[in-house]
């Protein structure tokens, strides 16, 4: 029994590569989201991807596969949160109301304990957004909640190497402040239109310049981000609560052609038909009571069901720290309590959000070829008594409730809010 100083093992644990031999999770009830539930299912993963999924009776397990016994447990895709503030991030400052040049990428602390808590809640991908209070507070990041040494370990890149993320905007009372911030709703819309019109002109100059470098406008980081939004390369995630504010967002989106996701949408149940007709997806939050601010006075458990009925695409979000990431599944359950279908509620914490983040080809359901992001639960995902037992990202286990260090993040207790790797601690044995 030798007592030694040791660097946090968690740090080292982050740089583990996906297993080479296949891993089979067998015997559990599988909720693939793509297709009906499988009472006795098998999931086979290898090199961070899903190899096979199906009923035990008809799904071959490759020779040499490691097996995890999931009898009595429930297996489903890793949860996707379309609006979160984990990572101790910040965004725009108080200088101007629109700051499209500001990137959350440049502010995230990957050792923030809230990332571990999100893993404990079963979240494997989160849209981490700069904070509130601006008409446009900056560029968001879609993160894989791997155990990371630096932000690069958590990024999601497309085949060209582009970093996945969107733009965060807001209206209503959120961005109302003293000048140069807007003092009214109409002023808010005017300021937004002014900037997007500038961006249209900027885009036009680039188009006209063509291959002639001498005619290219000076590079403008703000305009570049807005052009990306108008070109559909960056989805605009728009904080909006009141029914008329929601319609204002749809009006702006039509005028400038940016793809929009409606966030929070507290009054969404009042204008569900208009939302569905616009095809704009919704990212909603379910809160324990109405109010807290005027624009959320009618926020309700019924929103998910009402939007589903109208035909809108509905995802859920935590807005962590508004809802703690460990209670993400609870939101879906409360929506079911108030009339949403179980199927669409589970879709709303997985595949709907994958679609909202343009990542539906990689994540959101258990299908061969997709990323091996999945969670094991002790029971039904919509039951208060169920706990997330394990969370896997790209075929690597990032949370295990049976490990006391991980359980601390799941239930709380002394040290649960400390940054991981912040302090050197004692261990009794070092392997």
């Amino acid at each position: 029994m030798q007592l030694r100083w040791c660097l946090p093992l968690i740090l080292l644990g982050g740089i583990v590569f996906a297993q080479e031999s296949p891993l089979a999770i067998v015997g559990g009830r599988v909720i693939p989201i793509a297709g009906p539930e499988i009472p006795d299912g098998v999931l086979v993963v290898q090199n961070g991807k899903i190899l096979a999924i199906g009923p035990a009776a008809s799904t071959a397990i490759p020779g040499g596969a490691r097996r995890i016994d999931a009898r009595g447990k429930v297996l489903m895709p890793g949860l996707v949160d379309s609006h979160s503030h984990i990572g101790g991030i910040d965004g725009g400052d108080s200088s101007v109301p629109l700051q499209p040049d500001v990137r959350v990428l440049d502010s995230i602390n990957v050792r923030d304990a809230r990332i571990q808590k999100a893993q404990a809640g079963g979240i494997t991908v989160a849209n981490v957004m700069p904070g509130s209070g601006h008409l446009l507070s900056g560029q968001t990041l879609y993160l894989k909640l791997r155990d990371g040494h630096s932000i690069d370990d958590l990024l999601i890149r497309d085949t060209s190497g582009n970093i996945a993320g969107g733009i965060k905007m807001a209206n209503g009372t959120n961005s109302r402040r003293n000048p140069p911030f807007p003092g009214t709703r109409a002023k808010s819309a005017a300021l937004v239109r002014e900037q997007y019109i500038k961006a249209q002109e900027y885009r036009e100059k680039i188009r006209k310049a063509g291959a002639d470098a001498s005619k290219m406008p000076a590079r403008d980081l703000r305009m570049e981000a807005l052009v990306e939004a108008m070109e559909g390369q960056r989805v605009v995630h728009f904080h909006t609560h009141r029914h008329d504010d929601i319609l204002t967002v749809l009006r702006l989106s039509r005028e400038f052609g940016f793809r929009v996701v409606l966030h929070h949408v507290s009054d969404g149940w009042k204008v569900a038909g208009e939302i569905a007709a616009s095809k704009a997806p919704c990212s909603i939050i379910v809160l324990d009571s109405p109010g807290g601010k005027e624009e959320a006075k009618d926020v309700s458990f019924i929103t998910g069901g009402a939007l589903e009925k109208a035909g809108a695409l509905v995802g859920f979000h935590t807005d962590d720290g508004i809802v703690d990431s460990r209670f993400f599944l609870r939101e879906a359950a409360l929506a079911v309590r108030a009339g949403m279908s179980r199927e669409k509620a589970l879709y709303g914490v997985t595949m709907a959000n994958a679609r909202i983040l343009d990542l539906h080809k990689r994540i959101g359901s258990l299908e061969p070829g997709k990323d091996a992001d999945f969670i094991l639960l002790s029971g039904d995902p919509l039951s208060v008594y169920s706990h997330v037992l394990e969370t896997w990202v790209d075929g690597t286990k990032v949370f295990d409730r049976s490990d006391p260090k991980d359980k601390l993040y799941a239930v709380g207790g002394y040290g649960a809010s400390h940054d991981q790797g912040e302090a050197i601690f004692f261990v009794e044995e070092v392997e």
Binding site: L287, D288, S289, P290, G291, G292, K293, E294, A296, K297, G321, I322, D324, F327, R330, A333, L334, V336, R337, L382, S383, V384, Y385, H387, V411, G412, G413, Y414, G415, A416, S417, H418
Partner: protein, 395 residues
């Protein structure tokens, strides 16, 4: 004509509970005065529980309106909230839970600010909450008094169970005053509180000209009114216990996020605990909060109840049913979870002679559910307060 209509409307709003005779039949009745009753019947007459027993041996008399439910519990008790003083819109015009001009204002009465028609009271009632201990909020060294009241739509004064339930104080980070005012540190907060309690002792001894401020504290000094101390960090909990013992107060520990670190000391003090909401946010003084503390307190034999607490943003209140559910799922279990928002809360608040369990003679406060009350997807299908059906909408 118009005034007559107003009078009529007022009369119907303030109408006393109709002395309806009601029978509630539940597949499971958690009486909280014994084990759960399978297929039980609760008879209600004149606002009180007339009888409770198995359906087989409890016949429903003619003329009783019968309500059915999967599960019946006593009306839930929220052992500490601020709803009614803190309004749901969160605008300056509806926030009366804390006046911050000075650090200590024990003379502020909850009754003088309580809005029985506040939407958050209706919200809590919809999930089965029938009694609340509400009033001045944590956040000042002494913020004012608290009260205990039913959540009924019947606005009458007899829905008040205690006008001056406790005096609400805070220590630690919660007591720190804004903008350079005192107290600016933990030690200063304790010093100021001690000084004020000494003044109240002197006042009580000398019987000088009536002083509302010291009068309220003198009742605390005499042990007539408990001092409710909101406190989270372990060392602040010990400070609260130290002051409670110095002045021989009836102390109630409130919040106590770091209770697991000083469990032995809490237990030895004999002071009861109104525990923080299970889903409370972890930051600053509450950074070490745990969902398993309720189970830990139960195991240690510390008397405690759960609360919805104070929320200053979104959501504007929590619901004690939901907080008990998470505690139940994290080691406390269903029956102990229910106890923490019914009979244990009633005992802690000293109102168990009237509410907290389903027993003959007690107030007819019941909550009806279409399944396990703690399950996310279960609905509260009925709420009865003082024998009056307040709500039958499924929530």
């Amino acid at each position: 004509m118009r005034s007559a209509l107003c009078l009529l409307a007022a009369a119907s709003l303030a109408a006393p509970a109709a002395s309806a005779q009601i029978a509630v039949r539940g597949e499971t009745v958690y009486t909280m005065s014994g084990g759960p009753l399978r297929d039980g019947v609760v008879l209600i007459r004149d606002g009180r529980i007339e009888r409770v027993g198995p359906a087989a041996s409890t016949s429903i008399p003619a003329g009783y309106r019968t309500l059915q439910a999967k599960v019946v519990t006593p009306g839930l008790i929220d052992a500490h909230t601020v709803v009614g003083l803190s309004g749901y819109l969160n605008q300056p015009s509806d926030q009366d839970q804390r006046e911050s001009s000075t650090a200590m204002q024990p003379e502020l009465r909850a009754m003088d600010a309580f809005n029985a028609n506040e939407r958050l009271i209706e919200w809590a009632r919809g999930f089965g909450v029938t009694t609340i201990h509400t009033g001045h909020a944590p956040g000042s060294l002494i913020s004012g008094q608290t009260m205990i009241v039913k959540t009924s739509t019947n606005n009458a004064e007899d829905s008040v169970l205690a006008q001056e339930a406790m005096v609400a104080a805070s220590l630690g980070g919660l007591a720190r005053a804004e903008q350079g005012k005192s107290p600016g540190t933990r030690a200063k907060a304790a010093a100021m509180l001690r000084e004020e309690l000494v003044k109240a002792q002197e006042y009580d001894r000398k019987h000088e000209a009536k002083d509302l401020h010291l009068e309220a504290l003198a009742r605390v000094i005499r042990g007539e009114v408990p001092l409710l101390v909101s406190v989270h960090r372990a060392n602040d909990i010990l400070t609260a216990i130290r002051l409670g013992q110095e002045f021989k107060l009836k102390l109630v520990l409130d919040g106590v996020a770091e209770a697991p670190l000083v469990l032995d000391e809490i237990k030895a003090s004999g002071y009861p605990v109104i525990l923080h909401p299970t889903m409370y946010r972890a930051y600053a003084d509450t950074e070490n909060i745990s969902m398993e503390t309720a189970a830990l307190l139960k195991k240690a034999g510390v008397p405690f109840a759960l609360q919805s607490g104070l929320e200053s943003y979104v959501p504007k209140t929590r619901v004690v049913l939901f907080e008990a559910a998470i505690a139940a799922a994290n080691g406390l279990g269903i029956e102990n979870g229910l106890a923490s928002v019914t009979i244990d809360a009633a005992r802690l608040l000293k109102i168990d002679n009237r509410v907290g369990s389903i027993e003959a003679g007690k107030d007819a406060d019941l909550a009806l559910y279409d399944g396990d009350p703690f399950e996310y997807t279960t609905h509260c299908t009925g709420v009865i307060i003082d024998g009056r059906v307040e709500s039958e909408a499924a929530r």
